[in-house]
């Protein structure tokens, strides 16, 4: 399966969540656009749209509240109780690892979002598997046969998770034991305990567990050589990673940022860079949908 086929099959899988007229309309798009599609933007009372590198392209299907409800039910597999933790953060992960951002009227109980009374918008991000995109890069992330702790950075939607997944696969297939703290279930997309993505032969996955807690669990239980996680966001993630490094474990993680210069503007990231837990930074540059990777040494 070449890259275009793989992208189109992921696109078709995401479209499979939609009810009939909408699904048919999106299926009809040309293969080139399907391969470039990043998200579906669905807003009640507006035409459904697909997000391409050049912007949103609408199709002639107006979205209703009922449609959005049906898509949410399909994405949660009619199991709101299974997704309540992620729902509190405004997203759900559909089968296949597609992340769906939700907007609407939130229900708040005891100061905590417990669900949505009305769903007015959905942003369905198509999860992608691009086998081999990290191949050239991975060699530079080893020194004397040892993996160097690496942080992947890009702005949101820059392809961090896709690259992270491929590096996990490559490093794991080199014989390293990789444990993945997959809080959103997007990296491996376990189904019945089996990863839906190729994440390598020596990879263990802990899904839907808060990242910081997952790192501690993995350290205790799985004897990892490398711990991988997506999107370091809070100080608790940072503390957990620091304790992992203190135990001799290498890290592979991602963070939202366009450059190392921009990272230093956030206190958490500044501390993270200065304390030396990462040895390499991979910066993803995006030029009109064409991505390139740059490695920087962490001082």
């Amino acid at each position: 399966m070449d890259i275009t086929d793989s992208l189109v099959s992921r696109y078709d899988e995401a479209v499979g969540l939609f009810p009939r007229p909408l699904r048919d309309e999106f299926i009809r798009l040309p293969v080139g656009e399907k391969a470039l599609a990043e998200e579906f933007r669905l807003r009640a009372g507006k035409m459904a749209a697909v997000l391409l590198p050049g912007g949103e392209k609408a199709v002639r299907v107006p979205m209703t509240l009922a449609d959005l409800g049906r898509i949410t039910e399909a994405a949660t597999e009619a199991s709101m109780h299974s997704t309540r933790e992620s729902l509190k953060n405004g997203y759900i992960t559909a089968p296949g690892g597609h992340r769906i951002g939700i907007c609407g009227t939130a229900v708040v109980k005891d100061g905590e979002v417990t669900g949505f009374r009305t769903i007015s918008s959905l942003a369905v991000r198509i999860s992608k598997e691009l086998i081999g995109i990290g191949r050239e890069l991975t060699g530079s992330l080893f020194e004397n046969g040892e993996f160097l702790s690496t942080l992947i950075i890009s702005p949101p939607g820059g392809g961090k998770t896709t690259l992270l997944r491929d590096i996990i696969r490559l490093v794991s297939d080199r014989g390293k034991r990789v444990s993945v703290a997959d809080e959103r279930g997007e990296i491996a997309a376990l189904k019945g305990g089996i990863p839906q993505f190729n994440i390598g032969r020596h990879t263990d996955v802990l899904e839907f567990c808060p990242r910081a807690q997952a790192v501690i669990f993995l350290l205790r239980a799985m004897n990892p050589q490398i711990i991988a996680m997506d999107e370091i966001t809070g100080p608790e993630d940072f503390e957990a990673l620091r304790s992992a490094v203190g135990c001799g474990v290498k890290l592979l993680a991602t963070a939202h940022s366009a450059s190392t210069g921009e990272m230093k503007k956030r206190q958490l990231y500044r501390e993270m860079l200065s304390c030396g837990i990462f040895e390499r930074i991979v910066v993803i540059d995006n030029n009109a949908g064409k991505r390139s990777y740059r490695i920087e040494h962490c001082q």
């Binding site: 597999e77 109780h81 019945g192």
Partner: protein, 169 residues
Amino acid sequence: MLRIVGALMVISCCSIIGMGYAGGLRARKKNLAGFIAALTVMRSEICDLLTPMPELLERMAGQTEPPIKQFFINCLSFMKMQMPFSKAWEKAVRETAGLELYTEEIFCLCRLGMLLGRYEVEEQRVAITRTIVRLEEFHRRAGEDMAGRGKVCAAMGISAGLMIAIIMI
């Protein structure tokens, strides 16, 4: 000779009808008990393990006996046809062969289907518990029905067969 054969056939048919009806009452009681047991497991799976519906239905199909097993298989297959869960559940309740449930019991199970998977864990726990309590009541009544009407039906079937046979001869 032909008359005797005919009479025997009539007696057999009437007995089968009578015993079939008694068997239906027995099956209804057994299936209600099956649903109570299944819902008790489902309550733990949903409320304690947060098991997603497709996985739960598959697990339940593996743990139950026919026709409850078939009910879960049907519900899962309707769900896979992209039917909303409440519709899939209702269709499975109404269309699974051999459940032998009364209208009130069907209605009670369908109402549960409208709540499962849609709300918070605690609301689902309450709904399942309420349904179990109702089904226990139906189960008790089914037991009384079976004890009272089951034997009568079987006996009436045989007696009716005998009577028709005697009139024929």
